[in-house]
């Protein structure tokens, strides 16, 4: 009975995911598409929770649906509301595409079922459990991200950096928003400090419970998004020269720790016993700042137009 209920709920969630995903990409109305996509992201967060991946549920809600949604909504301001289809699709072309898609789905599904059947019980979960005691943290996802596969995370910070540098190289920010009404203004006044506290909490708690640098950074960035929506043009970001340092901080500390350990005779990013937890927290703190500044700059869309924030200036303006 219980198992049947779970299966029914799973099927319902799966059907809703497919339906929303389909609706988000099938509509010609972009505004609608973006709204549906944000709803899709929230539903996806529910799916992560269902599949016992709370770290992902947090990240999806904050980054996948939250910040990506904010970015898409901001982009809608400049886009025409309705889109035309790409190059005139002939009926035959459309059918070929549909046929190929179905074929692809069937083949990948078949391979996935075969792979699931083959791989049960021999993946890396056991190895993680065996070594988590030496990792310095007790949240297994954080252990994988910041210790076992820390090198992935290092390069991932570089990915964020390259995307943001690409955005910055494309020119100055778009214009900001008007002044907020009393209700939004009031909300922002007490929500922003709350978000900052929450970010700190997420960063700290990541060592033993769901959370960590990415969720914390995204939460800080959400505060910046709110500030900008509330009429603060620069979204609380410091002057360009300082922002550059903050952007680099995560990678500088990460590399610095890794290479210093190598210099001290350990391997690159091989944390000495007993120090792992502390070093991971240091790395994560710097990474949180970098991620927050990067995501906030990506949302603002470039260096702010207002006066002293051009790349070459070293003087910080203030609000």
């Amino acid at each position: 009975m219980n198992a049947l209920l779970w299966t029914l709920l799973d099927l319902l969630l799966a059907a809703m995911l497919l339906g929303l995903g389909w609706a988000a990409v099938a509509t010609r109305d972009l505004k609608r598409g973006v709204a549906l996509f944000i709803a899709f992201g929230l539903l996806l967060a529910l799916a992560w929770a269902r599949l016992r991946a709370p770290d992902l549920a947090l990240a999806e809600a904050a980054i996948g649906a939250g910040l990506a949604g904010a970015l898409l909504l901001a982009a809608l301001r400049d886009e025409p509301r309705h889109e035309k289809l790409a190059a005139a699709h002939s009926r035959a072309g459309l059918w070929t595409l549909n046929l190929l898609s179905v074929l692809l789905a069937v083949v990948v599904a078949w391979a996935l079922l075969c792979a699931l059947e083959m791989g049960e019980g021999l993946r890396l979960a056991g190895a993680v459990t065996d070594h988590i005691g030496q990792s310095g943290v007790s949240n297994p996802v954080t252990a994988v991200l910041l210790n076992f596969r820390a090198y992935d995370t290092l390069l991932e910070l570089a990915v964020i950096l390259s995307a943001v540098l690409g955005v910055l190289a494309l020119g100055p920010a778009r214009r900001g928003y008007g002044l907020p009404g009393p209700v939004l203004g009031g909300l922002i006044r007490w929500l922003v400090p709350l978000l900052i506290v929450t970010a700190g909490y997420l960063l700290w708690v990541g060592a033993h419970a769901p959370g960590g640098a990415f969720q914390a950074g995204a939460t800080l960035a959400a505060a910046a998004v709110l500030l900008r929506l509330g009429g603060v043009d620069r979204a609380g970001l410091p002057a360009a020269a300082v922002s550059r340092w903050l952007l680099a901080a995560g990678l500088l500390v990460f590399l610095g720790v890794g290479l210093s350990l190598a210099g001290l005779g350990y391997g690159f990013l091989q944390y000495p016993a007993g120090l792992a937890g502390g070093l991971i927290l240091v790395i994560e703190s710097a990474a949180t700042l970098s991620i927050a500044v990067a995501l906030a700059l990506a949302y603002v869309g470039g260096w702010s137009r207002s006066g002293s924030t051009q790349p070459d200036s070293t003087q910080g303006g203030s609000h």
């Binding site: 209700v183 009031g186 909300l187």
Partner: protein, 94 residues
């Protein structure tokens, strides 16, 4: 006994959600839709959180749930206000 009360609260809360969603789909204009949505959702969520708080078994969790509800209240009040104001400015009441 506590379980029973909790389940009743949660089911009632879900009922409010359902009514709110029907209102969102069926009511004629933006303001009444907003009205249905915010009232029903806030009350519905309140009842659901109350029910789950009873089931949670620890005070700390219950307080966290209460905080979540308060946050959602604030956010939904603000967003409803924004939507209404935007509609008012644009004169788009549908």
């Amino acid at each position: 006994m506590i379980d029973f009360i909790a389940i009743v609260l949660i089911v009632t809360g879900i009922g409010f959600f359902a009514v709110g969603s029907i209102g969102l789909l069926r009511l004629p204009d933006l303001h009444s839709r907003l009205h249905a949505l915010t009232k029903a959702d806030n009350l519905g969520l309140g009842l659901v959180t109350l029910g789950t708080a009873l089931l949670a078994g620890s005070l700390a969790t219950a307080i966290k749930l209460l905080l979540i509800w308060l946050l959602v209240l604030a956010a939904s009040a603000a967003s409803a206000n924004l939507i209404a104001r935007h509609a008012l400015e644009r004169g788009d009441e549908r």
